[in-house]
Amino acid sequence: MKKILILFSLILLTASVIYIRLYCLEKVPVHLGNDEISIAWDAYSIGKTLRDEHNHYLPLSFQSHGDYKAPLYIYLSVLPIKIFGNTEFSARFVSVLAGLLTIAVTGLLVYEISGQKSLGFLTALVLAFCPGHFYASRIAWESNLAAFWVVLGIYLYLLFAKTQKSLILLTLSGLAFALSAYSYHLQKMLSPLLVFFLPLFFPLKNRRQKYFFWAFTFLLVLPLALDLLNQSGTGSRANTQMIWNIPTIHDYLASRHSIVLKFSLLFSTVLSNFSAHINLGYLFFTGLALVPQKTPFQFGWFLAPSLPFLLTGAISGKKYLGKYHRFLFSWLALGLLTSSLTRGEPNLGRNLPNLAPYSILIAIGFMEVSKNARSWLKIAIIGFNGFFLVYFLSFYFVHFPKYSGENWQYGYKQIALFTKSVYQNYDRIIIDSRFGPNNRYVGIPHLYLPYFSDVDPRIIQKRPENNGEIGKYSIKEINWEKEAIKPNRLYVVPEANLPFLEDKSLKLVRTIYLPNSKPAFRIFETI
């Protein structure tokens, strides 16, 4: 009876995790973001023509807007887009699937190294309900996919190291690490380090196997390494993100001859970044930036009440993981270190592979505390964490969309659907590329419009030859003083660039509202 009850609750929890991760996927986040639409469009374009937005044939790194994207997520998204069509769901499908698989593999990994089913399940649960991971796996983020490959690579390697039998496991582990490098730029640093250190932590019986593992992985990532050396595509993108390319640091390094001074500056910058990455306030209270900064109710990457368990887990890790605990800390340290070498504040995307070791430590902390705690304390711990989880989920699904419309370029999908329905009625549809208060931001409507209106990718590939026009669509910054208003045109303008009120030649036909009910765009037709 007890076994059936446990099995039933396991199935129920797993089902609820899957359900919550998929719930309203096309509505929260409220709109496809800048990076998401680039990925979605490229996947759609590759699926139709084998060429990306910029007309490159099956590229290894995808030219995007101001950066280059790693290729794997885009290639994997081709199939969901073919099956589910041009929707938010299909763009985010790979990420959500990778997120769910990461949870499962992390659970299996912990079971493998601790030998405790309960700890494995608890770790999976902690990761499943970790706000940072939940948030990241509902967005088309390449780093989420990379995190999955990293965890899988480690799991497969450990499986092989334990039995030393089936070489397929070692080969698959190398493949997983290589795929992680194809999934996200930062993994080009972390994955080789993990591949190098794994055999040192868990030696293989046969030295040849170790060399095979290194050589095989290296061979698979060779094209990326060549690309990195060429400083084109991914290479240039990766290089601009490193701390030594922050303008102030770059200038300082260029102007000083003393190696000591150069080293001290770089070391202190990395150390400062590293400190920011392990800041408990950031990890548990403010890191997620789900809501505006001045709001008191912020969220971290993990639920705030799980903070004491991280500390307990860090202290008692050895008791549960034995010889594996050193590797766990090294994995975390390497992940944090590679992330600390990049510019800017700690970034959830760059830290996704680190969420798994953090979750393992938190789960160990839970186990350790609950082992010695009385039943009322156990109930209190579960209740408090459960309460925060419900609070987070309600915040995520109810308030987050209201706060975040502009950040996610809300409105372009609605514009696309409307203009598609009236496309035949007008000679030209002119769209202002700016949005936000005082036209602060410049969007990429040239991707949103064709994606949601199923435009043939060849038209976008030839866009530079057509002066940036896409069929009847013309995207530009509208200056009403100079604009020659001709009949049979449709104007889509942001709220901060409305035409003059006395202008009688324009008639308002539609207003697009943000989720917080503020007007974002207005659509006018010429009379």
Binding site: L271, G281, P296, F297, Y391, F397
Partner: protein, 279 residues
């Protein structure tokens, strides 16, 4: 033997004072501040010298004198007087451990004095006891607006529950905890005591049990008062909140050093820490 030790200790104090003076000079502190900082370091060293075993390890004081916190300028001289009063009270308290009533009275007095001194050092109090509300997390108009907004808009929660979750107490409690844990960062610690000493301080905290009961209680209470004040400040400075606890940081570092620290590793990390501070 005792005479020999005293001479050795005096030598250590002399070199520590030189190091402390130099680090104050490098920071371009005014002469009065340099004297005050060095004097306080020496006083704390004398007070806590008993913690170090064996006594030959007292040489660590020379390196601890490099802690940036002992070159900190409060920018308000009465703070030094307040710290001196606190230090005198602590030294009396340590000596009165065998007289329970006096001990209890003095203990409460020390806690009160430390709280007062801490608020003073963090610019939350003006002489004699005027609270600077502008520096506090409470009240903030923006927070109140957000609380009202959540109470109205959280339609997914039952009506009564909304007021239970979104109210001033939960909001400020959350901000308080967020402030405290954001402040307890590696960077704030190494900017205060140098990277090489962070490990000593943490180790000293972990082995608090090995300290005498008086010192242990003092270390814990000052730590919590320090965090209490940090949580209340709107934008905590990286070094100021620790400045009032510098005596206790020295005590923890000495306690940490007692736990079999390898001199070579310590000195190499200390060298690296100095490089960080140069940058």
């Amino acid at each position: 033997m005792k005479k020999k030790f005293n001479f050795y200790f005096l030598k250590i104090l002399f070199f520590s004072a030189l190091v402390c003076l130099s680090s104050n000079l490098i920071k371009h502190n005014p002469p009065l501040i340099i004297i005050a900082n060095t004097g306080l370091f020496l006083a704390y060293s004398c007070l806590f010298k008993g913690v170090i075993k064996p006594l030959t390890s007292l040489a660590i004081l020379v390196f601890l004198a490099l802690m940036p916190i002992f070159a900190y300028n409060y920018l308000y001289f009465p703070c030094y007087l307040a710290e001196a009063v606190f230090l005198i009270l602590v030294s009396i308290l340590i000596r009165s451990a065998k007289k329970p009533l006096l001990y209890l009275f003095l203990f409460l007095l020390v806690i009160f004095a430390y709280l007062y001194f801490n608020l003073f050092a963090n610019h939350l109090l003006r002489w004699p006891a005027k609270l600077e509300t502008e520096s506090l997390i409470y009240p903030q108009h923006q927070y109140q607006l957000e609380i009202d907004r959540q109470q109205k808009e959280s339609l997914s929660l039952p009506y009564q529950l909304r007021f239970l979750i979104f109210n001033e107490k939960t909001a400020y409690g959350y901000v308080f905890l967020s402030n405290v844990f954001s402040f307890l960062s590696l960077e704030n610690l190494y900017r205060t005591v140098l990277l090489g000493n962070v490990f000593l301080v943490l180790l000293g905290f972990y082995h608090l049990k090995k300290l005498e009961p008086v010192l242990r209680s003092l270390a814990i209470i000052t730590f919590f008062i320090c965090l209490l004040v940090v949580g209340l400040i709107k934008t905590p400075d990286s070094m100021r909140p620790f400045s009032s606890a510098r005596g206790m940081l020295l005590l923890l570092a000495l306690n940490g050093f007692n736990q079999k620290i390898n001199w070579k590793i310590y000195l190499s990390v200390l060298g690296l820490s100095l490089l960080v501070n140069i940058a």
